[in-house]
């Protein structure tokens, strides 16, 4: 009977799927890492550091997409502001990295980051205190987005802000943050943001080893997040979440405090996004208020939609695929890549309403049926 549960609409991914996903991820990651570190650059199998950083970036985006998918695909909370958590996580990490520069900045000030010297700040603001400690910075990286998600979620879900109202509010949130971070008075480097990082935990950020390690760490975290999310979504909690998506009022009438569930999920998702942001920054080398831009968040939603929302691996696939397409298009057809990308979005939404994952599953199901694999559920 309980195997029957796994047949439920939203939870089609079989047990083997998780293992497969994690397996594929790890094998690719390790192969790429090894190919970068062990093979000489001349070797045709050598994976360049460029590719490694690129892959690292994709994986960060995948994690972010996962975060969005969890709230949108499963709970129907369309967040158009998830990049706020991503960027906050990124800023947390950026602050830590800034403090690591120490007196190697251009002004040689051991305490103040360059941009503060530049704008005549005489001491480091209180909210930069302690950010030179890695552990503290990591707490901040996760805590600030989580607190923001909690406060925002608590306010919004408690007052039953739903649907597009919620979406637009999340957008307003990230937009407001963007404007705020653009302000130089905020002490986060204004438009230029935080950049010119030197090292992390004493490892030189420019070295291939560090890059590869960051890449591997990202992959590990993504795998972990994936397994964790899969566990959540397959638990009863996951089903309740889907129930809330489909009929919130019904869920309330059978006794679920839907607002708590939503807040919980929102905070969980914000943590994933924040972690993605924190890993993103040392790999791309800059964090700037542009990351808060509402359009970025919309793009993340598009990745998820392209991949297939409501399936975890769909989100991951979507993020990687769209970003890969972007990388290719901007290089091979710089003038026309927006056409291609725009057309892709339109095409996918119209013709693959369930995204790539949904499409594959349909085909797979049809294939199974044809092959006579009819597995009637027995209970």
């Amino acid at each position: 009977m309980s195997s029957l549960l796994s047949k439920a609409a939203a939870f089609r991914f079989s047990e083997g799927g998780v293992a497969m996903f994690v397996g594929v991820l790890f094998v690719t990651t390790l192969l790429a890492a090894a190919a970068n570190l062990l093979l000489p650059p001349e070797s045709p199998l050598h994976v360049s550091t460029y590719t490694i950083t690129l892959l690292g970036k994709y994986l960060c985006y995948a994690l972010l997409a996962l975060a969005v998918d969890i709230v949108w695909g499963y709970c129907g909370i369309l967040s158009l502001g998830h990049c706020a958590f991503f960027a906050l996580g990124g800023y947390g990490m950026g602050m830590y990295l800034m403090r690591q520069i120490g007196d190697r900045g251009v002004y040689g000030n051991p305490e103040l980051p360059d941009f503060m010297v530049f704008l005549n700040w005489d001491s480091i603001p209180w909210y930069w205190q302690g950010m030179d400690q890695f552990w503290f910075a990591m707490i901040i990286v996760l805590a600030i987005p989580a607190i923001l998600a909690f406060v925002f979620g608590w306010l919004a879900f408690r007052s039953k802000v739903t649907g597009v109202y919620l979406s637009i509010m999340t957008q307003a949130l990230t937009y407001a943050l963007m404007l705020a971070f653009f302000r130089n008075e905020m002490g986060f480097g204004g438009n230029n943001g935080l950049t010119d990082f030197k090292d992390i935990l004493g490892f030189n950020l420019q070295s291939d080893r560090t890059r590869v390690s960051l890449f591997v760490i990202t992959a590990t975290l993504l795998a972990l997040a994936y397994v964790c999310s899969q566990f959540i979504m397959r638990s009863k909690l996951g089903r309740i979440v889907v129930a809330i998506r489909d009929s919130e009022s019904r869920s309330r009438f059978i006794g679920y405090k839907t607002e708590s569930y939503k807040v919980w999920l929102f905070v969980y998702s914000s943590l994933l996004a924040a972690a993605a942001g924190a890993l993103y920054v040392p790999q791309v080398g800059i964090i700037n208020p542009g990351e808060f831009s509402p359009l970025n968040s919309i793009e993340v939603v598009v990745w998820v939609a392209v991949g297939g929302r409501g399936t975890l691996y769909g989100a991951v696939i979507g993020a990687i695929l769209v970003n890969y397409a972007k990388t290719r298009f901007t290089a091979i057809m710089p003038e026309a890549w927006l056409f291609a990308l725009g057309a892709l979005f339109v095409w996918v939404t119209v013709f693959l309403p369930k995204g790539i994952a949904g499409f594959c599953e349909e085909k797979y199901a049809a294939f199974k049926q044809r092959k006579g694999f009819n597995q009637e559920v027995t209970s």
């Binding site: 597009v164 509010m169 407001a176 003038e335 026309a336 725009g342 979005f345 339109v346």
Partner: protein, 551 residues
């Protein structure tokens, strides 16, 4: 479609007609004839060889005699149209027509001079200080003239530069002046002069009192000078107290106007928000399509304005009248196209319309970039949209904003009428609430969808025409309004047109009252936070849809 082609050709036809008429008008412009003394003639010849810095001394010398006959010269120089023939030194009024050819006239005789090419004439350069000087010279010369408007601007100009040299002229002008506005100005000028030169306490105090109602900056500055002066003995305590009291009255008045002004700014910002959002209130609010390409519809409208102006370069003054319907048609047709090709497939999947339209917005932007280049395009403001309606020296209403407020309200009314009073409106709402049932009641849902989306997009296009008068016409135009538009619609309450109106205006006014206190950036942030918090109180916006069905 056939209708739109027809309308287009029709408009084009009219444009061509007017083009011809307009260039004919330009040719008939007159330049006054005159006679000039020989000493002036000499100075004039020096003009052609003088460096920019010397020009100013030459003008000073020229204007010494107050020769009205030189007025056309000053005027031409001021407009930057004074040229001379390199070979002969003849001074020309030279002007380029929109078709690119140059029309040359002798400055003084107004006789057409032909047979000159670009290389054989040279411009006499002017700069800001020279222009200022010329204006004063012209003011002096026109203060006694017959044209009321010229006299008015002369009086205004002279107010900033009252001195012993021109006080006699001012007083003379006052005796012959009939226009009360000008008399007021001249009075202020005389008072300023009196304050500066008089030593008698009672006269000073009386003059100060006479100025206490005036919000002229020059008068105020003079009073400040009196109040704060330490050196001049005649400004004793009583005089300074009187000045301080007068300043207080003036400042109170100024404050009042500042308040009204802020309100006006707020309303005008609100009207821009309203225009930007109102199309969305239909496509998103009524139809439920989360139309991320809405901004691009606005952009298309703005580009249409640009194209219309390209088509009718001599007819800029009236171009907006054509731009409005044209922009409506262009954006509406694009909207219908989008609806028929994409949105139609997304019934019942509102969130997905967000994704598809996001893709469309990318495509549209890049299309515009490809066709018109990524550079901004130049849209000219017609004369009647420029300048301001001066209520008094510290308070004036800019015309473009006034028109845009009126226009926004007009568009709003029209839409309200369509949605509330016509069958289309009824059908739109029915379809958006229950498509199947609407079909069963004989509503042609496909057509209604297309028309509604077209309407919303068309209105966005119309908004684009208005925005082209305020801001850049470039590929990014749409993006800068999309977030605000959504914010307005949601704040007002989705599906409620009146809510959109009130939301737009209240956000505009709030913003403008915050801005002086916090600066523009923080004001923006605060407004956003305010909206976020407000939605907690009213999760469905200002005017939520009430009743059972809304749950």
């Amino acid at each position: 479609m056939r209708v739109s082609t027809f309308v287009f050709t029709f408009i084009l036809g009219i444009l061509v007609q007017f083009n011809i008429a307009n260039s004919a008008m330009a040719q008939s412009q007159q330049i006054f004839p005159s006679t000039i003394t020989s000493s002036e003639q000499g100075l004039l010849q020096q003009l052609t060889t003088a460096k920019l810095k010397q020009t100013s001394t030459l003008v000073e010398q020229l204007s010494g005699n107050d020769n009205i006959a030189l007025l056309p010269l000053y005027q031409t120089l001021l407009e930057g149209k004074l040229y001379y023939v390199k070979a002969t030194g003849q001074l020309l009024h030279s002007e380029k027509t929109s078709s690119g050819e140059r029309l040359n006239h002798d400055v003084f005789t107004a006789a057409a001079v032909t047979g000159l090419d670009k290389k054989s004439i040279k411009k006499i350069r002017v700069n800001n200080s020279l222009r200022k000087q010329l204006r004063t010279v012209i003011a002096k010369a026109t203060l006694l003239g017959s044209d009321v408007n010229l006299r008015l601007s002369a009086a205004t100009a002279i107010l900033n530069d009252v001195n012993n040299g021109n006080i006699a002229l001012i007083k003379q002008a006052k005796t012959s002046e009939t226009n009360s506005d000008i008399i007021d100005l001249l009075d202020v000028a005389i008072a300023i002069h009196t304050l500066d030169n008089e030593i008698d306490e009672t006269t000073l105090i009386a003059t100060i009192d006479s100025l206490s109602g005036s919000v002229q900056p020059a008068a105020r500055n003079q009073l400040v000078a009196v109040r704060d002066n330490q050196d001049k003995a005649q400004y004793n305590e009583a005089v300074q107290n009187a000045a301080a009291a007068a300043l207080q009255t003036i400042d109170k008045e100024i404050e009042f106007y500042a308040f009204i002004e802020k309100l006006f700014f707020g309303l005008s910002l609100g009207s821009v928000l309203l225009l930007a959002a109102i199309g969305l209130a239909i496509t998103f609010g009524v139809m439920g399509v989360i139309n991320m390409a809405h901004g691009e519809m606005i952009m298309l409208g703005a580009y249409t304005t640009y194209v219309i102006q390209l088509i009718m370069p001599n007819f800029i003054e009236y171009s907006l009248w054509f731009a409005v319907p044209a922009a409506f048609l262009v954006s509406a047709s694009v909207g219908v196209l989008i609806q028929k090709t994409v949105i139609r497939h997304l019934h019942g999947r509102p969130l997905e319309t967000l994704l598809a339209t996001f893709g469309i917005s990318l495509i549209l932007q890049q299309t515009v970039r490809t066709i018109f280049s990524p550079l901004n395009r130049q849209v000219v403001s017609p004369e009647w949209m420029s300048g301001s309606l001066a209520i008094n020296p510290v308070f004036s209403l800019t015309y473009n904003r006034l028109y845009i407020i009126a226009f926004a309200l007009l568009v709003f009314m029209a839409l309200l009428f369509i949605l509330k009073k016509t069958n289309l409106g009824l059908h739109v709402r029915a379809v958006s609430q229950n498509r199947d049932m609407a079909k069963s009641m004989g509503i042609k849902t496909e057509r209604v969808d297309a028309m509604t989306f077209g309407l919303g997009s068309g209105v966005a296009g119309v908004a684009g025409v208005a925005l082209s008068q305020l801001t850049n016409v470039g590929p990014n135009l749409g993006q800068s309004y999309i977030i605000d538009s959504f914010m307005v619609v949601v704040f007002g309450g989705v599906g409620n047109l009146l809510g959109t109106l009130i939301a737009a205006f209240s956000l505009g006014v709030t913003n403008k009252f915050l801005e002086p206190l916090t600066g523009a950036v923080l004001a923006n942030i605060l407004v956003l936070i305010f909206i976020i918090l407000f939605i907690q109180k009213r999760p469905k916006g200002l005017f939520p849809q009430k009743g059972r069905a809304a749950e």
